[in-house]
């Protein structure tokens, strides 16, 4: 085995040397690859050699022109390099078909290539353009590049023998892609819109009208100087201007920050309830909130009556008239011929109409008349709007004087309980009207009239409370000027001289206090809660007596206002009848329907009135 391998090794070394001599073969077939003419005057053909067969091989080119049978050999093998044949001008004909072959020859034989047909007219490929220059020029829009070049030296474009068209390509130094442009037959080219400060590279090539493109010329580069384009400068200017405007606007807005904020985000109006404290809401105790309300502002104690736009009944009676009335049998309760004929009607309700009063001045009880007279007489005395007295009398006299009833008189009667005069204080001195209750009783009877309450409402368009007020004033004005004057002295700001019930003293006298706008808070030592000036109706007792409510605590004890108010708020509910309270306080109550329902505020709710007839 070792022997065999050694023998093989020796043979493998020897054989090539030996076989070299045996490997010689005729050359392989050469192949013509390409023929080109740069200017349509000369042309060159190249071939590639085949296997040379191991022997030195020579190549020769032979050609035959179209019309002759003469075979020529290549005149020049060197000019164009190896494996080439150069045909000079003399040997070049155009529009003539060349039949070219290459023959490879070595010691053992030769080999002929495939014939190759060539017509010079179709193989034109010029050299690259020469003298490519690029310059930076300026015009009004900015710098631009100007390319210029010349045709390849040998191409005769001047005579028109060869017509060349050119193509340029350009790119920035850092770019990868070229930008190509056809330039036609011209020998210069302009490039605009340059990048400021960039380095540009350019190349040019050419092509005959019916031939092949040349190679690209060597690169020429140029640097563009720094500049600011006109377009960009305009943008910069605009940007600066806009920034300037923006700063000015923002400065203005900042200066007027508050008004801007007020304009854009109008403040939410807060609650306008007097005494309403938003912060108490945070405590989540509605009681506190309401108490604060009630304490401070509700119900409003001092009312500018003018603001309420309520027409109050203004009754004024002259002394002369009162004297006249004394002697007459006019029975109209509360028939107040107050006005002098010259009185205008302004500010006075229909109740004050002269005719109305005249109408209803008939059919009055004598009692009423007499009671009417009395105020005059007893001017100096403190008047007792003594509801308890009246009550007694009224209770006993349910007779109805159904005749004509003055709705206004009823108002007056109901409101009689309102004002109170404190004898001691002398805030208001009204003549004692013992007979007033008598007078009132028919009035109370008049309540039975079905339309009474309605007429009450119609007449003066007031709730009872309002009527009370009005009639209070009427009553007050009833009396002598002295009283009125005294009242006026007492009242500070109220022009109309209204009074409000302060309390009921032991003698069941209503203590009045002239109302002033600014008076607030507890009056005269007694805490007055809501609805102080009005007498709230507590209920109706069995005898159809209107039970008025007073601040119970005020009469009995001297509790805090809050308590009273609370109780006042928690007052009646329909249809409670609080006779007991009424009896305790001894309030006179006008006769009312049993079914009368009282609202929580103590006011009479006429909606539930049931007619008795």
């Amino acid at each position: 085995m070792w022997r065999d391998t050694g023998l093989k090794l020796i043979l493998s070394l020897i054989l090539p040397v030996v076989a070299q001599g045996a490997r010689h073969t005729p050359p392989g077939k050469p192949k013509l690859t390409i023929c080109r003419s740069p200017e349509k005057e000369t042309f060159t053909c190249w071939w590639e050699a085949g296997f040379d067969g191991g022997l030195p091989t020579t190549y020769s080119l032979f050609y035959q022109k179209e019309n002759s049978k003469t075979i020529y050999e290549c005149p020049d093998y060197r000019t164009a390099g190896a494996n080439s044949c150069f045909f000079n001008k003399n040997d070049t004909s155009i529009w003539v078909n060349y039949n070219i072959t290459v023959v490879a020859t070595n010691a053992l034989g030769s080999n002929t290539s495939v014939p190759f047909d060539v017509d010079v007219a179709y193989i034109v490929q010029p050299h690259t353009p020469e003298n490519v220059t690029v310059r930076v020029l300026e015009d009004k829009e900015g710098p631009f590049l100007r390319l210029s070049w010349e045709p390849p030296r040998k191409a005769d474009t001047r005579s028109g023998w060869i017509t060349l068209i050119y193509e340029i390509r350009v790119k920035l130094e850092e770019d990868e892609e070229w930008e190509e442009h056809l330039a036609g037959q011209q020998k210069m080219f302009n490039i605009f819109s340059l990048h400021s400060g960039g380095v540009y590279m350019v190349q040019v090539r050419c092509k005959p009208d019916h031939g092949f493109w040349s190679e690209w010329s060597p690169t020429s580069s140029v640097k563009v100087p720094d500049y600011i384009s006109q377009g960009r400068s305009v943008w910069i200017l605009m940007a600066v201007f806009s920034a300037f405007i923006f700063f000015i606007l923002s400065w203005i807005i900042i200066m007027n920050k508050n008004s801007v904020r007020h304009c854009l985000l109008p403040p939410v109006p807060g609650p306008k309830i007097k005494g309403f404290d938003k912060h108490l809401l945070k405590n989540e105790k509605s009681e506190d909130v309401f108490n604060a309300l009630v304490n401070n502002s509700f119900p409003p104690r001092s009312i500018d009556y003018e603001d309420l736009l309520v027409e109050y009944l203004e009754v004024s009676i002259n002394e002369e008239e009162e004297l006249i009335l004394e002697g007459k049998d006019i029975q109209v309760v509360g028939c107040l011929k107050s006005k002098s004929p010259s009185d205008s009607d302004s500010g006075r309700g229909s109740c004050d109409s002269h005719t109305l009063l005249m109408e209803k001045c008939g059919g009055m009880d004598s009692k009423e008349e007499s009671s009417y007279e009395e105020p005059e007489v007893q001017q100096a005395q403190a008047a007792n709007w003594e509801s308890p007295e009246r009550t007694d009398r009224q209770v006993g006299s349910p007779d109805t004087s159904d005749g004509q009833v003055n709705a206004c008189s009823s108002d007056i009667s109901s409101s009689i309980h309102g004002p109170s005069v404190n004898q001691r204080q002398g805030t208001l001195e009204l003549p004692r009207q013992d007979t007033v209750p008598d007078k009132l009783s028919p009035k109370s009877r008049s309540h039975h009239h079905p339309g009474y309450m309605e007429s009450l409402g119609e007449c003066c368009e007031l709730p009872i409370a309002g009527a009370q007020h009005q009639l209070e004033a009427a009553r007050l004005q009833n009396h002598s000027d002295y009283n009125i004057a005294s009242l006026k002295q007492q009242s500070e700001t109220t022009g109309l001289g209204y009074v409000e019930v302060q309390k009921v003293n032991k003698e069941n006298q209503l203590v009045l206090k002239p109302l002033s706008i600014h008076s607030q808070g507890p009056l005269h030592g007694s805490c007055v809660g809501a609805g102080e000036e009005y007498s709230k109706v507590n209920g109706v007792n069995k005898d159809n007596v209107l039970l008025l409510q007073r601040q119970r605590e005020m009469a009995e004890t001297s509790q805090s206002c809050d308590d009273k108010e609370k109780e006042g708020v928690l007052e009646q509910s329909c249809p409670k009848q609080q006779q007991g309270k009424t009896d305790t306080h001894g309030f006179a109550a006008t006769q009312l329907q049993e079914s009368m329902c009282l609202t929580t505020s103590g006011y009479v709710d006429t909606s539930t009135m049931m007619p008795t007839f």
């Binding site: 005057e41 001008k89 078909n97 023998w161 037959q185």
Partner: protein, 206 residues
């Protein structure tokens, strides 16, 4: 003659036609001849793509073209030494010689056993249009040149019709196209030489 000249002048004045100057005429002629040759080159390439293998061997020699009898310059020196009148005459002669063969080719193209015979047919038609347009333009041109420019060598085409068999038809068609390609190159070259020679005030293009 006077009457016709007068008439033509009056006619021109009436319709306010404008005479095109020589340079412009040459430019237009050169452009048309350029287009003509480009089309013929394209056609030749189309035909080459589908050529029978033995076709090249059987192809007639180029000297069998019917226009080979016309003596044309063979290199640059000879071409540049030809007079303008002769150049234009040569161009017009060659162009005229191909009117009939183009008609034949146009009629044969649709039925040519070639995959893109529609394309070929369209191009042949286009060739005809350009050829006619160029012929008319050259006729106008020679009117502006000397009378000796109007000489035309006649080269009748006796091809008749192509053979019947498929290969022969294709080969003959190809042969005719190759003849036309060369002749159109000649026409183009002559006219471009003529263009440069006639427009001495435009060195930038020549």
């Amino acid at each position: 003659m006077k009457n016709t000249t007068t008439q033509s002048i009056v006619f021109c004045l009436v319709v306010s036609c404008q005479a095109i100057d020589l340079n412009e005429l040459m430019e237009r002629a050169a452009q048309r001849s350029d287009k003509l040759h480009a089309l013929s080159t394209s056609l030749t390439k189309d035909l080459d793509s589908h050529f029978p293998p033995m076709g090249r061997v059987m192809m007639p020699r180029p000297d069998m073209c019917h226009t080979s009898s016309l003596q044309t310059p063979r290199d640059k020196e000879q071409a540049l030494s030809v007079s303008e009148n002769d150049l234009i005459s040569l161009a017009r002669s060659l162009l005229r010689a191909w009117n009939d063969p183009l008609v034949l080719l146009s009629s044969e193209a649709p039925t040519l056993p070639h995959p893109s015979n529609n394309d070929i047919s369209n191009k042949i038609r286009e060739l005809q249009d350009y050829s006619n347009s160029l012929g008319e333009g050259l006729d106008v041109l020679v009117n502006k040149m000397g009378p000796s420019s109007k000489y035309i060598s006649l080269m009748p085409f006796s091809g008749g019709d192509l053979r019947q068999d498929k290969n022969s038809r294709l080969i003959n068609f190809h042969f005719l196209m190759s003849c036309f390609r060369r002749d159109s190159h000649k026409i183009d070259n002559f006219l471009k030489v003529l263009r440069c020679r006639a427009t001495k005030n435009r060195p930038e293009t020549c």
